[in-house]
Homo-oligomer: 272 residues x 2
Amino acid sequence: MDFTEKILTACRNQKSLVCVGLDTELSKIPEFFKKSDDPIFEFNKAIIDATTPFVAAYKPNLAFYEALGTKGLIALEKTVHYIPEGIIKIADAKRGDIGNTSRLYAKAFFEYFKFDAITISPYLGADSIAPFIEDESKGVFILCLTSNPGSKDFQYFSNGEQTLYKEVAQKINTWNVKKNCGLVIGATHPGELKELREMVPDLPVLIPGIGAQGGDLELSVTYGTDKNGELALFNSSRGIIYKSIGEDFAQAAAKEAEILQSAINHIRKIRY
Amino acid sequence: MDFTEKILTACRNQKSLVCVGLDTELSKIPEFFKKSDDPIFEFNKAIIDATTPFVAAYKPNLAFYEALGTKGLIALEKTVHYIPEGIIKIADAKRGDIGNTSRLYAKAFFEYFKFDAITISPYLGADSIAPFIEDESKGVFILCLTSNPGSKDFQYFSNGEQTLYKEVAQKINTWNVKKNCGLVIGATHPGELKELREMVPDLPVLIPGIGAQGGDLELSVTYGTDKNGELALFNSSRGIIYKSIGEDFAQAAAKEAEILQSAINHIRKIRY
């Protein structure tokens, strides 16, 4: 099964386009975890147990784990292995290196950690992406137009006819021969999301920026999904996992995930 | 001391502009290391012991360590801590994320691993770079024009007046208020290196691509160094560390590093 099909299947089975970002920080999780040997994993486990019914994907951001050194990597490994079968596991790593090095990152993320997909920066071009898309069942989400203020610095650089982010979308579309390439497009740019979706109607899109970063959910869902209201994953991290820092943190996260799932399905006009 | 000054000092003290890339792979190191508990670190330790007299910097590429999971990270940590004081420690990580996430990467690389500098992808713009350049003594090398074939895909994208890689160089130059920003420019593009050096006369430049990738050393040194023949680091990885796979691997690496040091100093017309 190619990666695009894998996303469609996960979203249909789960009746959800929600991706939960596991951006777990020691300083933000409930106090009572701190007695545990591995507080990061224990927190993630509780979040996964509570939110799985409402989500299609989980996306740990590698920075949060690398910041803790080897301990963080152990927590990450346990977390990824804990995510149930059928749910998409995305490494938010924003990697990208020359060919022989990207090959090693592909090995690390796909073989060692067993992620389904990884986020990649496009700057180094085709040979930096190739090792990640050799196996049709493993996918990439390539940074196209990001949700942060710095997206304006280089991504809008234009040749007069089109901007760099559109050039990226267009090239990735031609490299998508195994149907395992997707794009990252921030919800903070709804107009651009609309144009990009028209340019690449068949690419999966990972859409961050709807929670703490202030992106518009209604426009993002309307413009970001494909003609069937599918092929998009909407990520919320802090807005879900830190909804409560009390005893009820897991139920609070589950409730937020369910609210987001319903809100997206409502906008998609899909009733389950 | 700002990072630019730190590079100048290391290069002057060591009488060298050589950077050795510690891209260590289990499958490529001598057989007899494989009995060790930590073959990657033991190999690196021997390479560092033998090559230190001839180098100004070491640059482990993170992919090679992450490919081994937590074991690799432990080997990396021990390696970085083993590099002697006064030698520049560069994390070749090619990271870059939105501001709050880059902050965590900065913490991971500068505080946990104690690197002096990190390589960064420019695609996400100013807020993705800011957390790495808050401390003047810690630096970044931002990907400008890379040594790989894929550099042609997006880096030459042009607005008619200038290419993306020049736009990157120009913006980084204006962001360099604490004198801790540098660029990565591949030795495989000597003409472009010349133009870039004229645009940014005061930025340190990290130049990969002179060994296995076939870049021209003479042109790279002539064009890549500043007006005093300084402010550039020339990286060789495979060409040094895997020069021999026999018992004499460390001496062979030392000899290669010394040859490269001398060749560069000869082109710089600096006699020690």
